[in-house]
């Protein structure tokens, strides 16, 4: 505790004397902003490797024979698993090189498919991560991304199959917009409740998650069920005109949604950092009291912030339905809601960071599917690794003490939570 205080004091004195930070400010700035996330990811992967080693029976057998053999078996198992992870996520380098040399277009696409599939997996993460990041910027903790995603997906699905006879260039955007609106509505509720009654959004969004699951379950077995589904919770297939196009033929699923996600990310960046509205939102987020004295309407910001965050989450659901699944089932999301909290924080709640972190998460999840097939390591290891990464990013002090990094200065922090409800 005391040494960080000393450091802070030194920093202030140095600032007052206009001394450059350790001589090389420029380089220091870039490294210090990426060092924590990069080292957090690295450490997460190392701990994941450790988990693989200690849960592999052959490693124990090898340790029974001799210590050296145990170590080498452990490294071999980890190597095998992570090689599968890499090939599943990026592709087999040899195959890529050979395909490029042969110059056959279809073979090149197939060799690169693992990478393209990683981008497909990242797409919902980008939307969901932006949703959480936008909330954080406004000082709102949106744990309800999962529920907003389900409602958004349900709305997009409904417009996707029930509206008929529209040309694709109207139907597809309409269905996507319906998804965004559905999510926005599901975000608007906790926003309104927080702004008007002070009820904390964390609890309300968690409650709305469960309401959304039950509601979609009912919709998919009742009003929106597929004919002859036999009580299975699944919707009809959406119309061809509502589909977000995939660029290449099956099995390559790479689709336009990825680029839509990038455009939306850019829009959010523009909104947050280039408009006065964005400045107001960030001010409310970092310093609500100052915002109040500056005459900003916290009520409006909270409501709009939550709705917009919900809209982004709804888009995540819509893009999955319209571009990948083409119908809705309960297994729509593999926990995007909670993962997106992690990736928003890893991305520093900045749209660019979120996009990068989302691609990382999509890549990990895609690679883990391959790892599961070749070395029987359950895909859930990705969750464990993500939890570690989130922990290290949220508590940079751990990473700093692990790698003997210097603290760069006081961190700005947003107070999300003081009690669940009641302005009192």
């Amino acid at each position: 505790m005391s040494d960080t205080k000393n450091d802070l004091g030194k920093e202030i004195i140095r600032d007052l004397n206009h001394e450059p930070h350790e001589g090389k400010t420029h380089k220091h700035g870039l490294w210090s902003s990426v060092s924590i996330p990069v080292l957090a990811i690295l450490t997460g992967l190392i701990l994941g490797a450790l988990l693989i080693a200690i849960t592999t029976p052959t490693v124990y057998q090898a340790f029974g024979q001799s210590f050296g053999k145990g170590i080498s078996t452990a490294f071999m198992e980890i190597g095998k698993a992570y090689q599968a992870l890499f090939e599943g996520a990026i592709g087999n380098p040899i195959r890529i090189v050979e395909a490029l040399r042969a110059g056959e277009a279809r073979e090149i696409r197939m060799a690169l498919n693992p990478f393209l599939e990683s981008l497909v997996q990242s797409t919902p993460y980008i939307f969901a991560g932006l949703a959480v990041a936008l909330g954080f910027r406004a000082g709102l903790f949106n744990i309800g991304v999962e529920g907003q995603l389900f409602i958004g997906a349900a709305c997009a699905t409904y417009v996707g199959y029930a509206v008929k006879g529209l040309p694709p260039y109207i139907h597809m955007p309409l269905a996507f917009l319906a998804g965004a609106l559905g999510g926005a509505f599901w975000g608007f509720i906790p926003g309104l409740l927080k702004a008007k009654t002070g009820a904390h959004e964390v609890i309300n969004t968690i409650m709305l998650n469960w309401i959304a699951f039950r509601l979609t379950e009912w919709l998919l077995t009742g009003p929106m069920t597929r004919p002859n589904a036999g009580g299975m919770p699944i919707s009809p297939l959406i119309q061809k005109s509502a589909e977000i196009p995939q660029f290449f033929g099956s099995p390559i699923r790479f689709h336009l949604g990825f680029f839509i996600a990038l455009v939306i990310a850019w829009l959010i960046w523009f909104l947050l950092f280039k408009t006065t509205w964005g400045l107001d939102l960030r001010t409310v987020g970092t310093n609500p009291r100052a915002a109040k004295y500056a005459g900003l309407s916290t009520v409006r910001t909270i409501i709009i912030g939550m709705s917009l965050s919900g809209a982004l989450a709804g888009m995540a659901g819509a893009v999955q339905v319209l571009a990948v699944n083409r119908s809705m089932a309960m297994g729509l999301s593999s926990g995007y809601g909670f993962d997106s909290i992690a990736l928003a924080l890893i991305g520093g709640n900045h749209p660019l960071g979120v996009v990068l972190a989302a691609i990382l998460f999509g890549t990990l999840r895609n690679g883990a599917t391959r790892m599961m097939v070749t070395s029987q390591i359950p895909i859930d290891i990705v969750d464990v690794i993500q939890a570690f990464i989130l922990m290290f990013v949220a508590a940079p002090a751990i990473i700093r003490s692990l790698y003997r990094l210097k603290k760069k200065g006081p961190e700005e922090s947003t107070v999300f939570l003081s009690g669940w409800g009641g302005k009192s």
């Binding site: 988990l51 849960t55 903790f141 744990i143 409740l193 009654t197 002070g198 009820a199 904390h200 964390v202 609890i203 309300n204 968690i206 409650m207 709305l208 469960w210 309401i211 039950r214 509601l215 379950e217 009912w218 077995t221 009742g222 926990g335 909670f338 993962d339 909290i341 992690a342 924080l345 029987q376 390591i377 359950p378 859930d380 290891i381 990705v382 969750d383 464990v384 690794i385 993500q386 939890a387 570690f388 989130l390 922990m391 949220a394 508590a395 002090a397 751990i398 922090s413 107070v415 999300f416 939570l417 003081s418 009690g419 669940w420 409800g421 009641g422 009192s424």
Partner: protein, 425 residues
Amino acid sequence: MTTTSQTIVRKRLAEISFARKLAMGVIEVLTALIIFFVFSRSISADAMTKFVMTPGGITVGTMADWVFNSSIALYLLAGITLLIGLYQLIKGFGKLTNLMVAIAFFCLIFGFLIWQASSKSLNLGGMLSSAVLLAVPITLAAFSGILAERSGIVNIAIEGMMLMSCMVAAIVASATRNPWFGLLGGIFSAVVLALIHAFLSIRYKINQVISGTVINIFSAGLTSFISQRFLQKNESLNTPPMFTRVPIPGLANIPILGPTLFNTNLFVYILFALLIILQVALFQTRWGLRLRSVGEHPKAADTLGIDVIRTRYMGVLLSGAVAGIAGAFFTLGSVGRFDEGMTAGKGFIGIAAMIFGKWTPIGSLGAGMLFGFADAIGSKLSLLGSKIPPQFMAMAPYIITMVVLAGFIGRSSGPAASGEPYTKE
């Protein structure tokens, strides 16, 4: 100066209670109308309702089945509710208002069941007994939340702690063939997670919700990982011996109450023991006063020589232990094996129950029972072939929580310093 502000406050309180009085009266009259028009009008006049009063597989404390005319019973309930509502509107019940609302609510639920079970048979005894069992993990999770939040640490990781305990309890109990070791193992694993939560949020001052989310993701991932990697191949590791039904001599013979409360699972007894211990410890002992003061105003507590940091560690670790018991219930008291994600959000509902119960053990028990009852009704309704989708019954607890949180039924506000890290100056 002070007197004028006091009169203003008093006047405002009086106004609020006047509006409240009217609102409650209207709600009660509406309830009566629902019972009369929706329930009793849609069934034939001579339909009979049969309530089976003894849960299946019970031999002591049995009771004869209850068969009666559905319409007459519904008229009676509607009449009672209408009288309550009218009296509330005209004169008001004063301090008894909440009790009367509860009675009206009870009439509504009871009327609903009579309506649904008209010309059918419903095992009411079995429903009560399963409602209590469904309430156990929710209420224990709420107790866990109380312990942490009263000390000023938000514990959103209860779900993760429960899930971990669930799995560890199954494995340890299977390996040792002893449910007690399983329970201890489960508690231990949850306490380890609580220690991490405490460490992250007290030592490193991470935002407590984020720290909790870390534990939730970690625990969901690790339990699924271990389950797929080991438990599915080695079924012998996932066949824990369970705690069996333990009748309490004498009390088990009481009809209805006996089978639901005194001839049941060990976990139900633990729940009630914890209820009494917590209620007394929190509000009657010096220990409880210190814990609460740390949650309300840590700086003041520190000035008085209370070790804030240590108290908070203690609160979170105890919270973990109780969450561990709640998790072990699933594998050792209810299902008898571990399945991925089997806590299914009960930890989060527990937090809701804690808020609904205004951060008190007794209130949380009431909320937990209500949620358990809603669950039980939902599953019974689908058996009865009701037209109302069970999903809507399952949504009820969440909606109620949101309504409570929004302050429509009296404000519920937690410990003042909950969620704020404490830095000693």
